[in-house]
Amino acid sequence: MSEDVAPFVGPIRATPAIAPPQIEGTSFGDRLYRWATTGFALVIPGLLLLIAWEVIHAGWPALSKFGFSFFTSSDWDAVKGNFGAAPAVYGTIVSSLLALLLATPLAVGVAIFLSEFAPSWIRSPVAFLVDLLAAIPSVVYGLWGVLVMVPFIREHVMPFVKDTLHLGDFPFFSGAAYGPSMFAAGCILAIMILPYISAVTREVLRAVPRSQREAALALGATRWEMIWDAVLPYARSGIVGGVILGLGRALGETMAVTMVIGNRHEISASIFQPAYTMASLIANEFAEATNDLHVSSLMAVGAGLFVVTIIVNVIARWLVWRTARSGT
């Protein structure tokens, strides 16, 4: 150590008591620390592998017995030992898409309002309230859904669509008005995923460079034209990522959906009819499953859910990551 390394501290005498800083730790303590943190980090991949192994292994008897028809057959009979999860797969997809259809325009609208137009005294309380939607437990949504929203849908929304709008013969809205239905599930899911889509959209809008907005305004665009023509195209893939992230949430959402969807193992074109989702099928029947094949079938449904949500999430993260990176 020469003296000019630390000119402001004064000359450094050779003091062997103080070891030079080691960026790559070689002492025993450092190695132990390194191993320990690495070990804890490895818990995460380990856990995922264990989950994958468990659900696929436990679901294998059903998957190998029924083959691909497990996901295409509608026959679900625990007594006869026939298991086909098609209605649950269908219900999962339709209820999630319905939720996206309702939530996306709202969530993007909220995000635009909050990040572009809202005066600051409105921004933080509204942002707080929208975030609060994500803090409400699923079972509380379910309780409110089954005791308040479902009766409201049965007594007001369904008669309105059928009698006032005369859409009762339209296959999407046909059948008796029960209340618990695919439509109710879509509504409750829409409320639940809205904060997620909105949060990601706000994040992505924040990543859009200021120059992009200024350029549009300088060319004479109105404030909305600036958003529509300059900001949204730039943020598009990130917003799509947020929507897909919401889709991932909706696909796996269990309790609230189980409580309002009516749990009927049948495929119906009408969204006013009761339906089933993969998650609610597991939630409802798992504790009562008696024979091994039934348990295995439910595990196989879980394995399907596992695979689908992983694919959806990977796509979403990739889209969001790509936009966030190009913005900086």
Partner: protein, 307 residues
């Protein structure tokens, strides 16, 4: 190469956009302004519509639930169907026990994994773990439930609080990991360098300087994770299972507030519905208090992480 084409592409977009705007001067400017005003108003309406369900839920919770939340609710165990009264004392304690088990497992794993991710930022293993942690976070909670059932209920042939706690710990780990990583990344490198320059070893620098500086932020992250798992039902139905009586044993089935709400809400009895509303009010109150405590932890801490 890619940057070049990207810039060229943007330039082309802007050029066509300028031409479009020039063409639109033929239309009246007033119309464009009106459209702009209407759309801005619509985004405001979207915000109103988005918070409407929240206000409705809060309103119903308070109106229907507040009446049943009394001293008895916190001190009695559930009455059998048909008898009014009773409380959810066992479920509240049960939720506390399950969350404690989950935190005992999830917090250390999450914090150390987060330390690893922040310190080995670019290592290939760190990138992989970070990605897989997001994947784990996106898994439906019901899948974690059947996983914990297969691992901890099936082999032992009975439900237990421990199995429920483990299922929730699996939910908690990715949340705490990412929160810890974010917070540790905010600690200035100069602090680490200062400690190293004073002769601290790497591990002491990490634990007593870096981790300690980031602690308020990590506490916030941990509390948010706790708030998130405390309201979970799906992973508990076939692990902790529920219990209508007092039980504090980790190896026995145990009651939990969210499960109790679920059972009561799906029952046909009005008394139980009232109890479910009360339970939901208490659960939401609990979650909100923890979330507010999380904000407070960051704000009061002298460290980093506050706005």
């Amino acid at each position: 190469m890619t940057t070049q084409s990207f810039t060229a592409q943007r330039r082309a977009t802007w050029r066509s956009y300028r031409d479009q705007l020039a063409a639109s001067t033929a239309r009246t400017l007033n119309r464009r302004r009106a459209v702009s005003q209407i759309m801005i108003a619509l985004t405001f309406v979207a915000a109103l519509v988005a918070i409407l369900p929240l206000l409705l839920i809060l309103w119903h919770l308070i109106r229907q639930g507040a009446g049943s939340v009394g001293w008895a609710f916190f001190t009695h165990i559930p009455k059998p169907a048909g008898e009014s009264g009773g409380g959810m004392a066992n479920a509240i304690v049960g939720t506390g026990i399950i969350v404690a088990i989950a935190s005992a497992i999830g917090l250390p794993v999450g914090i150390f994994a987060g330390l690893y991710l922040a310190e080995q930022r670019t290592a290939r293993l760190a990138t992989t773990v970070r990605f897989l942690s997001d994947v784990l976070n996106g898994l439906p909670s019901i899948v974690l439930g059947i996983f914990a059932w297969g691992m901890l209920v099936r082999p032992f042939k009975h439900y237990s609080a421990l199995a429920g706690g483990m299922a929730l710990a699996a939910m908690m780990i990715p949340l705490v990991t990412r929160a810890t990583e974010e917070m540790i990344r905010l600690v200035p490198v100069s602090m680490r360098e200062a400690a190293l320059a004073l002769g601290y070893t790497n591990w002491r620098t990490s634990l007593s300087i870096v981790l300690r500086t980031a602690l308020p932020g990590i506490v916030t992250g941990a509390l948010i994770a706790v708030a998130r798992i405390a309201g979970e039902t799906a992973p508990l139905i076939f692990t902790a299972f529920g219990n209508s009586f007092w039980s504090v044993s980790p190896t026995q089935p145990i009651a939990a507030l969210p499960m109790q709400i679920y059972n009561y809400a799906t029952s046909p009895y009005d008394d139980w519905h009232a109890q479910a509303w009360a339970g939901a009010l208490v659960l939401l109150g609990l979650v909100l208090v923890i979330s507010l405590a999380a904000r407070f932890a960051t704000r009061s801490g002298a460290g980093i992480g506050s706005d």
